[in-house]
Amino acid sequence: MQTFPEELFLPAELELHHEEVIAPSYSFWKEIWNNFKQRRVAAVGLVVLVLLSIMAVIGPYLTPYTYYDINLPLKNQPPSTMFWFGSDDLGRDIFTRVWYGARISLFIGIAAALIDLALGAIWGGTAALIGGKTDEIMMRFADILYSLPYLIVVTLLMMIMGPGLLTILAAMTIIGWITMARIVRGQVLHLKQQEYVLAAQALGASLPRILFRHLLPNARPHHGNADAHHSLSHICRSLPKLHGAGNTSPNSQLGNDGS
């Protein structure tokens, strides 16, 4: 009778190279950078943004004035060599105030856009992906928050947090992410019907993995849009609504001085 060596009856060793269902990791950022290089408009935009940021840093130091010094005899001056952008109704130099205000606006604009994007993508993506009751509850929560009178919410935020930059940021993002969540949800509802999502599910990928690796990268072009829309509207924003929500008087912010 033939004998079999003992080794044959040991459990086979696991093959350790799993198949990965993701794009070769010539990465997300590299892809964005490649995309970016091909678009002249985007490049121009970046240059403008960098210039604005530089000016926001050095601008206020280019003049002998401060953003808060009042000089009543020289109020409402037209632009001149003395006041490059003219002076306002209290005789403060507008050039200095614009760049000082740009600091606040740029900070809030960029921070608010990032927060909106992150919150909106996660919330909307999760709601759409899980679907059913979860989706219903998550989206109705967003609707409810969105329906509350904005001014009341802002006033309450001010009462709780006190005036300040963070309060403005909170006031901008507390409602802002909802639009993003709705758009991402629509996208993901559409995308999750695709075969590759089914494939990923069949291979046992977890929900967060499907969302972050497979769905959100595909929803990207529209993110880009909405993102630009958001940051721009924040930066160039018209915020008569938020007058005084944290901007105590001598501070300038582009939204205030523009109106």
Binding site: V41, P149, T155, G186, H222, L232, C236
Partner: protein, 309 residues
Amino acid sequence: MREDLRYFLGKLSTLFLSLFIIISLTFFLMKAIPGDPFADEQALPTEIHEALQQHYGLKDPWYTQYGNYLVTVITWDFGPSFKYRDRSVNDIINKGFPVSAVLGLEALVLALSGGILLGTVAALKANQWQDYTAMLAATLGISIPSFIMATLLQFFLSVKLGWLPVARWGTFTQSILPAVSLAAMPMAFIARLTRSNMLEVMQQEYIRTARTKGLSEMTIITQHALRNALLPLFPYVGQLAANILTGSFIIEKIFSIPGLGQWFVNSISNRDYTVIMGTTVFYSIILLGAIFIMDLLYGLMDPRITQRS
């Protein structure tokens, strides 16, 4: 069919539940801000102040006020404004909303048709001058705040050229400038969204299939491409419609239009409780209704969404 009906009723019941939550939350948040409708700049004598509060039931315990207030919502009779005593909240809504709605509808049609047209043209002529022009317009539309747009339009088209009336409300020509200023931002947003969706859809295999079948380019675009490219717009349009139809504080102020938008802001700075509640309830009904309709339409346009959820 029964499945559909259950889906519909389920959605409808959550709609009413959310409405109830909004109504209650607004009530408690509103009561949480300091101040009351009679705390004016010129201080009233304490006795009169208290008598007024007593008269309007502001001294009642919160549950009585809350209960009364729920009754006003259900009977749709919000009572008088605290600040403008000769006007009732129903009056304000009945007079303001038609104005805002007409203007909003004009702006909505303009934003949707203009945005979709610009976006489609830009996508079909990607990286040609048509695309650049459309996207330049879209970028301007997104970055210029509505009040600057409105003031510029007023200055050039009305004051300098005298083509259109500067402000006020009543005739069609008077509604053109405010409608354009209202529509600029959403139009630009819709154009950008449509462009990127169209670009993606036009590369799909079913478009190639349609081409090999020998369909005309026009049929392919209108019947096959647009239908899918416009889907991602749906969730945005519901919200947009609700916002734009209930009026904008800024645009109404600039063009002196007697719409509903100003009441959303004024009522809160006046602590005009009944008006705050009335406008909020009204707005939430329109918002939730619009989102509800868009959800149903979304399911109709893309049946896969309801099937597999």
